[in-house]
């Protein structure tokens, strides 16, 4: 499993990578996961439904991450935006 984070000026960076079946690596993943949530990030797991539709799932704890997920993507939490600049 890979934990990725979107970053301005860079694109995504790999925060942690490991096999969740290996306790040490799972612990490292959990620590990195919590750190990002503590920083106010949202965590999403890209998924595919049985009908083939792509979507995402927001997770609030590592326990909610599907065990077979390949990656979790962290991104800054949403905030009401848009300045005064018209498009």
């Amino acid at each position: 499993m890979k934990l990725l984070r979107m970053k301005p000026g860079h694109g995504e960076i790999v925060l942690a990578e490991g096999d969740i079946e290996v306790p040490e690596q799972e612990r490292a993943l959990i620590e990195a996961f919590r750190r990002e949530l503590d920083e106010g990030m949202w965590a999403a797991v890209p998924t595919e439904t049985q009908t083939g539709r792509r979507e995402a799932e927001l997770v609030k704890s590592f326990a909610e991450v599907p065990r077979d997920a390949e990656r979790v993507i962290f991104f800054p939490r949403a905030a009401g935006g848009c300045g005064a600049e018209p498009a």
Partner: protein, 208 residues
Amino acid sequence: MALALGTGAVVLVVLVWELVRPTLRRTLIGLQLRWHARRTAAAASGYDPGRERRAEQRARALLRSCVAEHDWAMYTDLGFLRVRGRLGEETGGAVEGSEYAYLIYPHKPIVAYVPETGELLNEYCVAFPDLSRPYGSARLPHSDDVLAKWMALTADERRLIGEANMHLPGRQIDPERVRRDIARLARWEAQRGVRAAELRPPGNVRAA
């Protein structure tokens, strides 16, 4: 005669030059100052066009790996993504005439509309500012912004809409532009042979 005309021309050129010179000088100095200020500002903010381009390339690759092939083609061809709204499904399924969708633009509001009629419903202004500003800016690359909106919408539409500032259509994006984009999308899908029924969710009464 020729000598007089020549002398007159030279005198005229010199006079015009003397008149224009101060203005020209001021303009050149102004341009030089503006150019210098722009360079200084860029250096101070750490803006690097090459780095931003590489960031956008990474963001596009990530977006491509997350969305369906059809959606990726839509984004590369048209510059936006469409996501079907699903709040109606939570309360007992979509009802005839209530289906709606969103258009996701990079760093612009999400626009809700009715695909059946093209009616624009609302603009949802939402951003994903990274307050750590790693390279002086809080803005994600364009495709990361689109992916963040897509993930948040498909995962928890109600939450994202709740966080956004809602406005009537036209606040930030020209409604004519959106209507043109909706028409472009319809043509694009027609060319790709996508039937409207395929876009509707299973169990939707309108798809029957």
